[in-house]
């Protein structure tokens, strides 16, 4: 009997007829305008445009005239920080999942580097309870690999799995000891659950605050060489292959890591990897401003790295997109760059950033972006959202023509440390349905979709 792995506050099941939206679901092959009928939170029927007009005149069904808009399967983010417990001034489960819904996400996976760390079953249980009360979209939880992220003692992984942990990670920190990691990989055979790794050799990253290169040389800020990440991926790819373990590499940032990942995959290791929108669209040139919004770990790297990441995402060497949504309070980020904490928020801008910077520029196809923004589910053994009859409704309605200035209308997240702040991005999420419930409806939804009743 599989334990439940996603948790949320169940709302009213959606009763919706979305008319004439352009449905794009790379996995079902659908890429054309359709009518989509949602009854009791499930996709009841798909039909050619105009075919589902009447629907028996049921007054409970809300009708959205969505011609010209796009309907995608809901995105799944395998890497967010909801800061709960302990740092609710940065984010909590309600605001974090509201931000997810506003970004078109129908599920997110939360990291355990909270205060206290999610390293035992009672803490995980209390988090699950909170999610059942507050989460607007389903949340999966990773527990830590080592107690207190200390890097030396394994957590009670089997009990954590039974309690509902999707997998394990010490994210924010690497598992420095190859010996400790090896034991975790062995123990995985007992308890299952993906082991996700933040790869960084602290001996190489030291007190670095940005990518090591021409920009760090100019700014006099200690650099984090790309090798701090890629050498650890090489090491742990080899360990994963040797132990036959299932390992997921988090937030790849550089070309050397792509090479190490490709090598591990070639050797048959059961490894996967994610990449963040900011690493796909920005470079260390942004850091010249010394704006702490551009400080994250791993750091923004060179243009050649950015291009390699885009190519790897396109080819599938990198499996999915993850935001690494990392909220921090304003007063924490309003300090000199070297003192600022690492991290950028990303849930509310992920799709628009990729659409604006990669699809509109011709670097990636729209369907690749949609596929990679949903693939994170499969990597953690969760069903991938599909727009198909009888599926639970997990989808988002997006206006690809509409632009917005990031942050101009505030954020759903409790924090505003978004690296895209102030930019004009194209591709506005109008509505998100998560686990059958309308989790987000933009203020502009009514005016742009001419809501009427049947």
């Amino acid at each position: 009997m599989a334990a439940e792995r996603l948790f949320h506050h169940s709302g009213t099941p959606a009763e919706l007829l979305i008319r004439e939206a352009h449905v794009l679901d790379p996995r079902t092959g659908l890429d054309e305008p359709h009518d989509v009928l949602i009854r009791a939170g499930h996709i009841a029927e798909l039909g050619s445009p105009g075919s589902l007009q009447g629907v028996g005149g049921d007054p409970n069904i809300e009708i959205l005239e969505a011609a010209g808009k796009h309907l995608f399967p809901g995105f799944v983010d395998p890497h967010v920080h909801l800061r709960t417990p302990g740092q609710e001034y940065k984010e909590n489960i309600e605001t974090g999942t509201a931000a997810a819904a506003a970004g078109g996400f129908c599920a997110v996976i939360a990291m355990p580097n909270t205060d206290p760390v999610v390293d035992d079953a009672p803490i995980l249980r209390s988090l699950i309870d909170t999610a059942r009360q507050q989460a607007r979209v389903p949340v999966g939880f990773l527990a830590s690999i080592t107690r207190g992220l200390g890097g030396d003692e394994l957590t009670e992984m089997a009990e954590l799995r039974d309690t509902g942990a999707l997998g394990f990670t010490d994210d924010g920190k690497p598992v420095v000891s190859a010996g400790v990691l090896r034991k975790a990989l062995q123990y995985q055979r007992l308890c299952g659950g993906v082991i996700a790794l933040h790869e960084e050799d602290p001996e190489l990253s030291r007190d670095g605050a940005m990518h090591e290169g021409a920009v760090s040389a100019r700014l006099g800020i200690a650099g984090i060489p790309s090798l701090a990440e890629s050498t650890m991926i090489a090491r742990d790819g080899a360990l994963a292959a040797y132990e036959g373990a299932r390992v997921h590499f988090q937030h790849l940032s550089c070309v050397e890591s792509v090479d190490a990942l490709a090598h591990a995959k070639q050797k048959g290791a059961r490894v996967s990897a994610e990449v963040c929108p900011h690493h796909l669209t920005l470079t260390d040139e942004e850091v010249r401003t010394l704006d702490s919004r551009f400080k994250m770990n791993p750091p923004l790297r060179a243009e050649s790295d950015r291009r390699a990441l885009v190519q790897a995402l396109k080819s599938g060497v990198i499996d999915c997109v993850a935001t690494d949504h990392a909220p921090h309070a304003a007063h924490e980020k309003e300090v000199p760059f070297e003192q600022a904490p690492m991290g950028t928020t990303g849930l509310e801008t992920a799709f628009a950033a990729l659409f604006t910077e990669l699809v509109l520029t011709g670097e990636l196809d729209l369907e690749v972006v949609v596929e990679r923004m949903t693939e994170g589910a499969a990597l953690y053994g969760l069903p991938i959202p599909r727009i198909a009859p009888a599926q639970p409704a997990n989808l988002c309605l997006v206006d690809l023509e509409a632009s917005f200035e990031v942050g101009a209308g505030g954020y759903a997240s409790r924090s505003a440390n978004c690296c895209f702040h102030g930019r004009m991005l194209q591709g506005t999420v109008l509505m998100t349905v998560a686990a059958g419930t309308v989790a987000y409806a933009a203020q502009t939804l009514a005016e742009t979709t001419a809501v009427s009743s049947a």
């Binding site: 040389a217 006099g220 007063h331 000199p336 760059f337 003192q339």
Partner: protein, 309 residues
């Protein structure tokens, strides 16, 4: 007539003409410094705050003297014993000080970009007196001033900057300022102390003193003790053997500079410091006049030199 800008945060804020204008102004203030009454009324009634989050002798004292010789009211705050010591954030400190309506805030911080942040939080003009390992623009201006006095112009001059370039804000500002004034810059030091891709700043990099003879000017950086602890170099002895500038390693006619404070017997031999080729004393003297010029150009900036004297 325009000012050189609102703030002086980086040498990148200045084009060659602005640098020359500041140096010309500094020449006239240097004349003031030679008088018995070393004071002009240019900034009378204005308040200047010196905010130093790092220990400093020559930079803080020369900024204070510069402000006083321009007749400004000066408040000098050091992190030790101040509200900063009690955990007040930089932003809160700056906003508090801004309530006194200062004309300028001079800031020294151990963190890159601190001066730039201060400029966002205060209506005052902000002068970067050193931010982390990033920049120290007034040091670079006084270095150019000193060299220009000696050489007339820097165009085509070969300047070697020797030592711990990795941790040096002086090196970064000097590379930018020297090259902007037409000089060719080579940085030289142990490979562990030369930042990767430093060439992107417009200089060359060398790891030995073999070609030091090409230099017209040898600019030596301070070698800090803590670099040994972090294994950037195995020992001061080995460092000195390879990189110490001695009279024997200098050609006649090569000029010697150092931003101070000197570690006598480490990066420079005692004889080199005291040799007639050394401009170290001239650099210190230039500090006051150049900082007077920077304050004046930022806060007043009228075209007529005669109006201030």
């Amino acid at each position: 007539m325009t000012r050189i800008g609102t703030h002086l945060l980086s040498i990148d804020d200045l084009d060659r003409a602005s640098i020359e204008r500041i140096l010309d102004r500094a020449e006239s203030f240097d004349e003031v410094s030679g008088r018995e009454i070393k004071k002009v009324p240019a900034l009378r009634g204005r308040t200047i705050v010196n905010l130093f989050y790092e220990s400093s002798t020559r930079t803080s004292s020369s900024f204070e003297l510069a402000a006083k010789r321009l007749s400004a009211d000066v408040v000098s705050i050091r992190s030790q014993g101040s509200s900063v010591d009690k955990g007040e954030s930089l932003k809160d400190t700056v906003q508090t000080l801004s309530a006194y309506d200062p004309a300028a805030i001079v800031i020294r911080s151990p963190h890159a970009g601190a001066a730039g942040l201060v400029a966002r939080w205060t209506p005052a003009a902000v002068i970067n007196a050193g931010d982390g390992k990033h920049e120290h623009p007034t040091q670079a201006l006084l270095d150019v001033f000193t060299l220009r006095r000696r050489l007339g112009a820097l165009d085509g001059t070969n300047i070697w900057i020797v030592g711990d370039v990795l941790h040096s804000r002086v090196a970064r500002s000097d590379i930018l300022a020297f090259t902007r004034m037409g000089a060719n810059v080579t940085v030289c030091g142990p490979p562990t102390l030369i930042p990767r891709e430093i060439e992107a700043l417009g200089c060359e990099a060398a790891t030995t003193l073999e070609r030091l003879g090409e230099a017209d000017v040898v600019y030596v950086l301070r070698m800090q003790q803590e670099r040994m602890r972090d294994s950037f170099v195995p020992s001061l002895r080995e460092y000195a053997a390879r990189y110490q500038i001695t009279p024997g390693r200098l050609l006649p006619g090569q000029l010697l500079m150092h931003p101070g404070p000197v570690n006598r017997g480490v990066e420079l031999s005692g004889e080199a410091i005291d040799s007639p080729q050394a401009l170290i004393g001239a650099q210190v003297r230039a500090g006051v006049a150049v900082r007077m010029a920077v304050l004046y150009e930022l806060l007043v900036g009228t075209p007529s030199l005669a109006a201030v004297a």
